[in-house]
């Protein structure tokens, strides 16, 4: 008997060992408005969906197929006492828009003022539907038990297809000024294969795990950027970045845990040998490889140690430290259009320490944690005549605290806060025809308060949160400086965010429940205007409501109804309304069978410029049951 037949019989054998659940459904839908602009909704187009599952946990078979050509296969099985196989195969597809900003550019300029009066893919690429498919495979074979054994695994990943890119092509406006919004296309083709072996053992208070893995991967990304003249397509610039890498990684981790004391330590080592690539051309079919003598290597090393002790029943203290380093080098020689040698190298060293204190009583819990990290980054880059070399010292401190209280009347309160400070000091060694960021200090604070209470079957929770951040930058370094009369000053970028969310859940019984959560958020991005004379479209503001509600109800002992809906309506720098509504109904029949129906609608409406407006309505009908 052939091996394939053997596998098939094995799967069927698993399938017939005990009852399984199946579903088979038909979907049909209609779209209106700006069709093909929100094409990620194409996942709901008409077709047949089917699924079958049997068993649970470590003895399981599940198959799923969707109308979009997506699906998954999961298999978990034991051989004998200790040999276990878990395998998963998944395929999903991402459906892309055929334009990025159909009517107006993000800044509000009507597309009709650009040539060729459109911002869809069609003029440059014809009628196409960009779809990106991702296939994943993972199989793990384990021998032993959770406390002692070995595991071998292989994983595979493949990505191939097209996406509409956010990066724009180029067109010329009425006055001949360039603009950048005609839709462009990205083609992707990536693969990754990994194999690994791990061993683990726990014996009394000691435990350890070691693993080694090898991987080979390649990524291939081509951006196709059209350029339009007054009335015709001038050309399509094709830029293709490629990378191929071989990776090795080894890691060990072990620990000791007994009574109120535990210690954990780990070490890891990783190497990456890479072959960078780049090709370009004016048409996808005319790509010319540009790089010669391209190579790269990266080495990462890390070690960590942490200890936890509970000196008192209500007090836990934890101390930890980590050291890591990374050395990276890469170089390439550009051969044709702008011959130049390029290279960059960096050496990164980091050390961090962490202390944490947790106190807990029957009515309160308190946590205070602090992290201090410092590192240095030695960097140099060359491109033709351009050269930059610097050493950056980085430091980061984080302090976080949390207080949980159980108050009278059943109230539960959680208050938490976090403050971070990050400093980057640069020691510029050399700069020629280049640009390097200056020193910076960043700080960020965030606070969160949560109040919850249960009123019989109703559970309510209110969450308030906010954050604030400020990045202050010293003037960057330029060479050459064309206009010394300008004096650069320190400038800052600020971000403020606030959010309030209310969550309600009511379960009267197993046969009836409703839930609601809704909230309002507001965010501002501000920059010191003085450093941007004439600069346009920098500050951002965003606010709006977001909410979801739903419920489930047994209409009768054999029929069940479930409803859910949500909307998101930001306004400000971005403004749109995004609605979802779903309703599903299940009616049990005899002999373990049931029929189901699902109706749903989605609507996306861009409101700032009145551009995108897309509605989808769909209906699914099917049967499910037990075989």
């Amino acid at each position: 008997m052939c091996k394939r037949c053997l596998w098939l019989f094995a799967l069927l054998g698993l399938a017939t060992a005990e009852a399984g659940e199946f579903s088979l459904g038909l979907s049909a839908g209609s779209t209106s408005g700006d069709k093909h602009r929100r094409d990620e909704l194409a996942a709901f187009r008409q077709g047949v969906a089917a699924s079958y599952s049997q068993g649970q946990g470590l003895q399981r078979l599940a198959v799923e197929f969707l109308p979009t050509g997506e699906g998954k296969l999961q298999l978990a099985s034991f051989w004998g006492e200790k040999l276990r196989l878990v395998a998963e195969l998944e395929r999903d597809r991402g459906f892309s828009d055929t334009s990025t900003y159909p009517e107006r550019t993000p800044g509000g300029t009507p597309v009709t003022e650009l040539y060729p009066f459109t911002n869809t893919l069609q003029p440059a690429f014809g009628d196409l539907e960009p779809v990106l498919a991702r296939n994943r495979f993972r199989a793990t074979l384990t021998y032993g038990r959770p406390w002692q054994g070995v595991a071998f695994w292989v994983t595979g990943f493949q990505q191939a297809g097209e996406r509409t890119a956010t990066v724009g092509g180029m067109a010329f406006g009425e006055a001949g000024a360039p603009a950048f919004f005609p839709a462009s296309l990205a083609k992707l083709d990536s693969n990754r294969f990994e194999a690994g072996l791990a061993g683990f053992r726990a014996s009394g208070p000691w435990w350890a795990r070691g693993e080694v893995r090898a991987a080979r991967f390649s990524s291939d990304h081509t951006a196709l950027l059209p350029t339009y003249g007054r009335a015709v397509l001038l050309d399509v610039t094709a830029l293709r970045e490629k990378n191929r890498a071989d990776e090795w990684r080894a890691a060990v981790v072990g620990g000791y845990a007994k009574g109120s004391v535990s210690v954990v330590g780990s070490a890891s080592y990783q190497t990456l040998d890479t072959t960078p690539g780049f090709a370009s051309g004016v048409r996808p079919g005319q790509l010319v490889g540009q790089l010669a003598a391209a190579s790269g290597s990266t080495t990462r090393k890390a070690g960590a140690l942490a200890a936890t002790a509970r000196p008192l029943p209500w007090l836990t203290v934890r101390l930890g430290g980590r050291v890591a380093s990374e050395e990276r080098e890469a170089e390439a020689q550009e051969r044709f259009f702008a011959p130049a040698a390029g290279s960059s190298a960096s050496k990164w060293d980091e050390a961090s320490g962490k202390a944490e204190l947790l106190a807990r009583t029957s009515w309160a819990a308190f946590r205070l944690a602090g992290t201090v990290a410092s590192g240095s980054d030695e960097f140099r880059a060359t491109h033709g005549l351009r050269f930059a070399s610097y050493t950056a010292d980085l430091s980061r401190t984080v302090v976080a605290g949390e207080l949980r209280l159980r108050l009278p009347e059943g109230f539960q309160v959680t208050l938490s806060g976090k403050r971070q400070r990050r400093e980057r000091n640069l020691d510029l060694k050399e700069l020629l025809f280049g640009y390097v960021l200056g020193d910076s200090v960043s700080r960020a604070e965030e606070v969160r308060a949560e109040v919850g209470k249960r009123f019989g079957g109703l559970e309510a929770r209110l969450v308030l949160g906010g954050s604030s951040g400020k990045d202050s930058w010293q003037p960057p370094f330029y060479d050459p400086i064309y206009d010394p009369s300008w004096e650069l000053a320190t400038s800052a970028a600020k971000v403020h965010q606030r959010q309030a969310t209310l969550q309600l859940q009511y379960a009267a019984s197993d046969s009836f429940s409703v839930w609601l959560d809704g909230g309002y958020r507001k965010a501002d991005w501000n920059f010191d205007a003085v450093t941007f004379p004439g600069f346009w479209w920098v500050d951002d503001r965003l606010e709006g409501w977001s909410a979801g509600l739903g419920g489930s109800l047994d209409l009768s002992p054999r029929s069940h109804l479930q409803l859910s809906a949500s909307f998101d309506a930001p306004r400000g720098a971005v403004a749109h309304r995004w609605y979802w509504a779903d309703a599903s109904f299940v009616q049990d029949l005899r002999k373990g069978l049931a029929v189901f129906a699902r109706a749903f609608t989605r609507r996306f409406s861009e409101t700032r410029y009145g551009s995108d407006d897309f509605t989808l309505k769909a209906l699914s009908l099917g049967i499910k049951g037990t075989l």
Binding site: F9, G168, V264, A330, Y478, W525, D540, S546
Partner: protein
């Protein structure tokens, strides 16, 4: 015929559960052991008392007296501190989740039972617990709201789950999170490149992206140039630098229309291979 027998043997070997009732607890608590036998723990529960002892403690006194008070019962277990509840599971699974002690869940007093214990004695299997956004959403409601954004990772659609990105049983530094997890599905952005974008090296992907959901395409933090100007605040300064950027940007242009290789470039340090053409 011989082939058919071989096939039958393989099927039986694959599917037949190895039932070996050697757990002494089953002598008196057969219902409980039978319930566990329907879960992922069925082997360990059937072949020894190890599974029972992990939660209920040393049974010596209970075996001697036969009294319920001499062993940790349901109520006593429910009252245990969360870290002690986790310790019961870790007595077997510690090597599988070596960094649990430093995980945010452990620090936040979330025990294994809160995600995995759906029904008493019926631990929710890993797959069911982790693939359902509902398990995580019960505490992380604000994240659930982010997934309602117009652009979001397809978690609600079932194409991925929270554990596709998050190591819920351990701790991962943010920059490693980006390289290890984001690169799994977005290898074209991971490099390594000859000229990497330093922001990714220092801060990871979240320097520019909000991974759960965003009002902006590509899950960007901001749709405008503010995204880049957060660090490159004075890049546009007139007369400084080689290109007076105001000319391009006054028309509503975005930085990455020219500096298109935002994740890194193998060609030049300005991340703008188009400029060399």
């Amino acid at each position: 015929m011989g082939g058919a027998r071989t096939t039958l043997f393989v099927i039986v070997a694959l599917v037949a559960p190895a039932v070996r009732a050697e757990n002494p607890c089953a002598d008196c608590h057969s219902d409980q052991v039978a319930a566990v036998a329907q879960t992922v723990h069925r082997r360990v529960a059937q072949e020894s008392a190890r599974f029972c002892v992990a939660c209920h403690g040393d049974p010596a006194k209970h075996l001697e007296s036969g009294e319920a008070k001499d062993i940790l019962g349901r109520q006593a277990l429910a009252a245990l501190p969360e870290e002690d509840k986790s310790a019961a599971c870790l007595s077997c699974h510690q090597a599988s989740w070596p960094s649990w002690e430093s995980s945010a869940h452990q620090r936040g007093k979330v025990s294994c039972w809160q995600c995995h214990a759906g029904v008493w004695h019926q631990a929710v299997p890993r797959a069911e617990a982790s693939r359902s956004i509902g398990v995580c959403a019960s505490c992380h409601g604000d994240v659930t709201a982010a997934f309602r954004s117009a652009w979001h990772h397809p978690v609600a659609e079932g194409k991925m789950s929270c554990i596709s990105c998050h190591d819920v049983h351990g701790e991962q530094p943010p920059e490693e999170l980006a390289f290890d997890r984001c690169a799994q599905c977005h290898p074209q952005a991971a490099g390594p490149f000859v000229f990497p974008h330093r922001a990714i090296e220092e801060e990871g992907c979240t320097a520019c992206h909000t991974p759960h959901g965003s009002v902006n395409r590509s899950l960007l933090r901001s749709s405008g140039n503010g995204l880049c100007l957060r660090c490159h605040v004075q890049s546009n300064f007139p007369g400084v630098g080689k290109v007076p950027h105001n000319f391009q940007l006054l028309g509503g242009g975005r930085c990455y229309d020219c500096h298109s290789e935002v994740h890194g470039s193998n060609v030049n340090d300005r991340l703008a291979p188009r400029l060399e053409r």
